[in-house]
Amino acid sequence: MKFIHYIERVGGVSVYGIFSLALFGLIFGVMLVWALRADRNMIKEISQIPLDDQTN
């Protein structure tokens, strides 16, 4: 297989940067909302898992 240039010129290269930042912003925002709104008891329960394995 050879790498053949399918497209002759890249149009509007700046869109890559904007798209990637927007994508990150979206995912980060959704994660942030979820993490902050998650149930307090569940968070507490999960954070205890390492200490709750009966080894020392």
């Binding site: 902050l36 998650a38 329960e45 898992i49 390492p50 200490l51 080894t55």
Partner: protein, 718 residues
Amino acid sequence: MPTEQFYYDNKTVKRFAYAVLFWSIVGMLAGLWASISLFYPSINLGLPATSFGRMRPVHTNAVIFAFVGNGIFMGVYYSLQRLCKTRMYSNLLSSLHFWGWQLIIVVGAVTLWMGKTSGKEYAELEWPLDIAIAVVWIIFGINLFGTILKRREKHIYVAIWFYIATWVTVAMLHIVNSVELPVSMWKSYSWYAGVQDALVQWWYGHNAVAFFLTTPYLGLMYYFLPKAANRPIYSYRLSIIHFWALIFIYIWAGPHHLLYTALPDWAQSLGVVFSIMLIAPSWGGMLNGLFTLRGAWDRVREDPVLKFLVVAITCYGMATFEGPMLSLKNVNAISHFTDWTIAHVHIGALGWNGFLTFGILYWLIPRMWNTPLYSKKLAGTHFWIGTIGIVLYAVPLYWAGFTQSMMWKNFTEEGQLRFQFLETVTHILPMYITRSIGGTLYIIGALIMVYNLRKTIKQGQFSANELAEAPALPAVAETHGRTYWHRWIERRPLQMLVFSLVAVAIGGMIEMIPTFLVKSNIPTISSVKPYTPLELHGRDIYVREGCYLCHSQMVRPFRDEVARYGEYSKAGEFVYDHPFQWGSKRTGPDLARVGGKYPDSWHYNHLLDPTSMSPGSIMPNYGWLFDHELDTLRTPSMIRAMQRLGVPYPAGYASEANNDLSAQEASIRASLKGDKISTGGNKEIVALIAYLQRLGKDIKAAPKEQTAMKDGGALMGN
């Protein structure tokens, strides 16, 4: 609810722990050896295997894949079973994983010493080992997911998310970067060429740091720090944000290794922006670790485990602050190609990975052997010697890097370069010596640890199978409050795998696909022609001897570099370079424009004894190149391989290539003869001279305005 009894597998953890101890010493000694050869080159004993160009990949591979790799597996096999409240999925897979990995390490070290290398940093192992790594990685994956699926704990703790992201991303990186065409049993050519190869390589290289040296160790931090401090992590919510932000951003940052190179400008900018953003999740993770110890700092004074963990996390914070700073183009212009980078990575390797591993070992081994640590005092001694070692290692190299870069860029009032390249090297040799002293202290610390742990093991009683009990997982899970979509991912490992893969694959694709598909990104230069058969052989020798580890082939568009080396490098110059050889460090000068700069006899004498041509040079002698015969039987297969990769040799050229090779060889021997040097027929040295004399020549033949115009538009992105 009735509880079930089961046994944790400690035997596999023990094996990995022994491997960590063994390979840590081996990897560090290889590093020490390589570092000494920078100020005392004759330590290589005149042997090919022990020259810097071969010791350095042995060192980096041993530390990354043998020391840290086994450290990951040790920690994962211990913590995963306990976080899932179940034994590992399969004893057989655990065993195959352990022995398979050790076999790869041993064969890897031997082949690297023999000069079998693909010539891509941190991915040097040749194709049979690449396949073996993939197989063992899949075995590890089945064992990992099998264990998670049969767990007795309904939630998947954040450490396991890091393990899953590590597994899936390393698999992706390894497969994409290792696409290569085998030419013989231990030789292959990268499928990609030039700029594309560079982009894939540093996308891999940076993410090897991210997903082999960082995410799995963050997972270990999230397990072992709460264990050692006996308190939960400071903020579990923060750890969720830390995880998703980190894996999403990391994957984009690779191009910061290629700033001011011939990589298209938009890709460089993308890498810079995401590298700066990385500081936020990295510091979120560091603070989450350090805040876990709030109210327990008095114990840090007493407990050697906590001491090691605190310094490890602090070094993580330092390295992840420095990383984004080094990604700024104006800082990178100074730091790149210097020892600054070496100092930076060793804050990570010695501080973060090394100290975290030591902390875990000091915690783990007394527990698995049911005995207190043999000597807390010795562990404290190790801590201090190690810490001083890190400082003595890093500070001189920061100094050396900065000093040398300033010397490179220094002009006299008349506008001439003030320093010869060699002057900038000899100036920093005292710093190299101090660095080796720091490294030696660090190794002494590690040896003290090996002694301490050996004594601990001797006085203890190992429990290979540790009894535990837990209730079975209920078929219908109870829910807390409102159920959100994240619970759907967070409780199911396979969804987690898919989402992690999507997060990391998007970054890779947006960066790479345009560079592969869009013609304007790699402007062609009509005068750039494929290498001749003899030059191709010479290039293989150049790769084999690891020349790229000290010499770059990338002139950046800076006044000093253009004055010192010649016209800056263009993307179109590298279209036949499988693999690319841009390098990442200038211990010696750049070679992109060395062709035709010196007569053949200069290279002949220089490779025989560098100090004869450049007094004070720290380059080793390459005496064996003058004895070894060129393997011309390989020529046809090399040409055919290059043709398959798209290098435009004429059809049927493979069978005639050796004629051209002989003719070119004869002409170089004649030119050497003119300088009263007679060399035997078919020697490797002639091929290497042919390659060196070709470097940068094509572009000199090109009409000036053509290369300048064609390149200027795409390179600068305007």
